[in-house]
Symmetry: C2
């Protein structure tokens, strides 16, 4: 049996985590042979509910679950942590400006970044889920210089999976036949769901659907799917977001499938002319715990222009919070 | 790739199913090589929320999930069904007598039993979760004579897992070292959590904890854990109940581990002097999709008396609903 790893989860008493934690503990995220210690962080008023989540985790008798730590102290939650799932964030309240949201969350993520820098495993791998996810990840990175910037990522796998479903439904093909789909950019409505290089059942998607559908229907449908789910469900997507986190981390740690790639928002190396250092969603393959950007794709002028728009939004988000990093 | 199987789930828009469905679709219940079609049943007012659950299931792009059918028509939900997870049941309202609860749920399960009898795969395997689970399963069985009575079971795996945790915590040993624990009887407060034959890290549990603790603390703690979770969480256990269902079905279909057994409420063959035909929780091993009761245990007078009490409760529950079967 492997040595246990420490998985820190923030916002742990919330709805996404109620779907997420049990799947981590069952081995779905890191594999059936990897024992885990869950280190769960919440704000003080949510600790009572978090203790109930811990009771239920214990009541599953998961063979891989070695311990569950519940705390409102980030220095305890991130102590020696190997993996960090940053689910907690301040939601946008009524009448709140986007700039205020950015600043409030920026403060949370700069504080957490400093603590992580001091107490976590320097090889810690992080996935930011709480919105604005890419910019929260950027601020965390700037405040945690001991961590490798390549190990701080943000979630666009939910968008990636949503896009697979839309294309599979349109082409009436099984979802597991959709390969090499890409989400570029920011996890926001400026994201760029791109099927230019995608295959479905071995055929080029571009030969199965027309470009007008891809641009005018598919792209906005994927980008706005979150709002559609909220409207139908009465609350935001939780189980599918949790599933995106499981998929993101599993691909990163255990590798991507041969002949396919996934979308992850990662530290830009300047590929495709995107500003180096931004946390930007790219197509990546993963092996031995490292991701590698697919760098040899040729993009249309339309996709390139959309990618630059999403880059511009990320630059503006960053500039709003520039007081939070040196 | 195997042929897909049809999994019917009732009460599919509720909280237990929000935890359950995504784990079924990911392959945790029936294995990573078994495609599934989910056939989801709800009452008409819940169909809108159920459609939102379907959206999120699609948004996970699960490779094994072939289709999701949402319906308020049981004849559609159980058509050709291979597995039935009967989660939906009428909850006990304020001021409601236990007898009324039994009768209301008895009507639901007699109706569903008749429909299942007509439209499902005659080899269908059923796990009843909705309470009173054992008696609901009994009534369903009596109304579905085309099914094998051995294929109609009720859930006591959640109690089993809760008992493992309590014993592991008391002995300060890892949960995966607790083997051969038993829940006897009814999934109610008369259940009999029994560690007489249990080992922990290879040692007899009876040598590690004293009998007074087992009888006065462990047994009521396990039997009343549901109420404790409700009190802490503000609502009933959902994710841990869903996990019990996953474990129950996985053990049944894919087999139990060598050197261990699990607890399942199954059709009594008269073992241990329990009335033949009652749906009673026993220690069982599973192989090739069949369960076998462990019949060679010697029980203390204390345990035997408790087992008879739980049998008596099941007989009384059955007699309350005797108008619902021939």
């Amino acid at each position: 049996m492997k040595q246990p790893v420490r998985v820190t989860v923030t916002g742990a008493a919330g709805q996404i985590c109620y779907s997420l934690l049990f799947r981590i503990a069952s081995g779905e995220m890191l594999g059936n042979d990897q024992p885990v210690i869950l280190q769960l962080l919440e704000i003080t008023p949510a600790l009572k509910v978090l203790e109930a989540v811990k009771m239920e985790l214990n009541d599953c008798a998961f063979p891989l679950l070695q311990d569950v730590i519940c705390t409102d102290d980030a220095a305890v939650a991130f102590k020696g942590s190997d993996y960090g799932l940053m689910v907690g964030a301040k939601p946008r309240g009524p009448g709140m400006e986007r700039g205020d949201l950015l600043k409030d969350n920026g403060k949370i993520f700069s504080t957490l970044g400093k603590i992580i820098n001091d107490v976590a495993n320097p090889d810690m791998k992080i996935c930011v889920v709480g919105n604005p996810a890419n910019t929260n990840a950027y601020i965390l990175m700037k405040n945690a210089p001991n961590l490798k910037p390549q190990n701080i990522t943000a979630l666009t796998r939910l968008d990636h999976n949503r896009a697979i479903y839309q294309l599979a439904a349109k082409t009436e093909q099984p979802m597991n036949t959709v390969k090499k789909l890409t989400i570029w950019g920011n996890h926001s409505t400026t994201q760029v769901p791109d099927i230019s290089h995608t295959t479905v059942s071995g055929k080029a998607a571009s030969e199965m659907v027309d470009t007008a559908w891809a641009h005018a229907e598919f792209m906005p449908k994927v980008a706005k799917r979150g709002a559609e789910v909220i409207s139908a469900r009465g609350s935001s997507s939780a189980a599918s977001a949790a599933n995106g986190v499981i998929d993101h981390m599993r691909s990163w740690v255990l590798g991507t499938d041969e002949g396919d790639w996934v979308s992850m928002a990662v530290y830009s190396d300047g590929s495709y002319g995107i500003e180096k250092g931004l946390i930007y969603s790219y197509p990546v393959t993963c092996k031995n715990g490292d991701w590698t950007i697919i760098t040899d794709l040729t993009n249309s002028d339309f996709i390139t222009a959309k990618m630059k728009e999403s880059e511009k939004e990320l630059q503006e988000e960053r500039d709003t919070c520039s007081d939070l990093f040196a």
